[in-house]
């Protein structure tokens, strides 16, 4: 019943769609890069960061904002763990959500061996551990907008 009323009254406004389309179109306008180039850039950026920390690839949000007459790239990259995937021999697994999640203090980053059984942890536990990196301040000013 509630669901029916919600659908009856509360059709979501299209202004949110307009806002999102505008955001995306201006991002490409300002960068003068094709959308697929931006995707490639994001992917490579995350690849680099993934060498140092475990990030949640599904939740990455990279945007470009005009600040005065320059562009700033804003990246919100949730960190799953500060383990260094490439150093513990699990390089092939990072990014698919199967890497062991452990609090940074509990396990020295230099320790090479993942604990046996760690990978069978239920996904729910991983969720709880996730740390949000917050909106990183301008990660780098790209080309001037003009």
């Amino acid at each position: 019943m509630i669901e029916f009323l919600r659908r009856f009254f509360g059709q979501p406004g299209s202004s949110a769609t307009a806002k999102e389309r505008l955001r995306l179109v201006l991002m490409t306008d300002h960068l003068e890069l094709a959308p697929e180039m931006i995707d490639t850039m994001k992917r490579e950026l995350v690849d680099v960061i993934s060498r140092y920390v475990e990030v949640d690839r599904e939740k990455i949000d990279v945007t470009f904002e005009r600040q005065d007459r320059t562009l700033a790239m804003l990246a919100n990259i949730p960190i799953l763990s500060v383990n260094r995937p490439s150093e513990n021999g699990d390089a092939g697994k990072h990014g698919n959500g199967k890497v062991e999640i452990a609090p940074p203090v509990a396990e020295p980053v230099s320790s090479a061996q993942p604990k046996p059984g760690a990978e069978t942890k239920p996904p729910a536990r991983k969720r709880r551990r996730r740390k949000k990196a917050g909106r990183a301040a301008p990660a780098g000013a790209a080309a001037a907008a003009t």
């Binding site: 979501p12 406004g13 299209s14 202004s15 949110a16 505008l22 201006l26 306008d29 003009t146």
Partner: protein, 292 residues
């Protein structure tokens, strides 16, 4: 596109006129271009109303229709039957400025320099346009230049003589994108200010139209004011009587507030009154979290 990119810095010419206005010649009026990139957002209507409102304040105002080939400003002002000569007649020195200036019906301070209808935008020499605007600034407090849509030669000519810019934007994705582009082309020299036109508060409240904040979160420009999408604007345009003549109407008053802000008065940017919330909608908002 590449051509335009390389020309970006050249828009507006090379004269460092902006600095001279305040510093050197006190008598020189202000030259303001009204532009938008996208067509149909209300540049001409805004120019007519702003000019009318500024003249009503006692300022001497001349409006230049820089939309060569698509002359419209005379229609909006109801002056189409008085146009004898046009901008290109003046630029090409066939007539004196005074022969081409059309006096407004209602205000003795307000004049129009009409566009040529049977010519093309490329016929205008940018340097001559600059020189003309400078000449007019010696005689008028405000030179308002109604730019054509687009970012090509017509836009560049319109911008050439201006020191300031007012960008007109409607709450639509395409219009905001185009204003964003135009502001990028203008650069900082023009200190662009924003008029949001054709806002429908009812739709904004229902989440069906971009709000003033949505638009300016992207454009980040000083806001001169917001004009509602009112049927009376169509009526007044039909009649050739700018709505700014009717100061009693909310929209007419809004144009006067914008004019006051342009003149430097410390008044709030006009906003259309928020539409009333119906009981039906109030019920609806109980079930939908999307509303504010």
């Amino acid at each position: 596109m590449h051509q335009l990119q390389s020309d970006d810095h050249a828009v507006g010419g090379d004269t460092p006129a902006a600095e001279n206005v305040e510093a050197k010649d006190v008598k020189l009026g202000r030259s303001i271009v009204l532009t938008s990139g996208k067509g149909g957002v209300g540049k001409t209507t805004t120019t007519a109303n702003l000019g009318t409102a500024l003249a009503a304040r006692g300022a001497r105002v001349v409006m230049i229709d820089a939309d060569i080939g698509l002359r419209n400003l005379d229609i909006v002002l109801g002056l189409e039957n008085r146009v004898r000569h046009h901008l290109l007649d003046v630029l090409e020195e066939r007539v004196e400025i005074d022969d081409a200036l059309v006096a407004d019906k209602r205000s003795e301070h307000l004049f129009l320099l009409a566009a040529a209808q049977a010519r093309e935008k490329e016929d205008v020499e940018t340097a001559k346009m600059q020189a003309l605007v400078t000449k007019l600034r010696e005689r008028f407090d405000y030179v308002l230049i109604d730019s054509p849509a687009g970012i090509e030669q017509g836009f560049k000519n319109a911008v050439a003589g201006a020191d300031e810019a007012i960008v007109v934007c409607t709450p639509e994705v395409a219009a905001v994108r185009d204003v964003d582009r135009v502001v990028g082309l203008l650069g900082n020299r023009f200190r662009p200010q924003l008029i949001i036109n054709r806002l429908r508060p009812q739709l904004v409240r229902k989440g069906k139209m971009l709000s003033v904040d949505d638009v300016n979160a992207i454009l980040r420009l000083p806001l001169l004011g917001v004009i509602a999408d009112e049927p009376e604007i169509i009526v007044t345009t039909n009649k050739g009587e700018p709505l700014a003549l009717r100061t009693a109407t909310p929209t007419g008053a809004a144009y006067h507030a914008i004019a006051a802000r342009v003149a430097g008065d410390d008044v709030a940017a006009p906003m259309p009154a928020a539409a009333k919330v119906s009981l039906f909608e109030r019920l609806g908002s109980m079930f939908s979290g999307a509303r504010r």
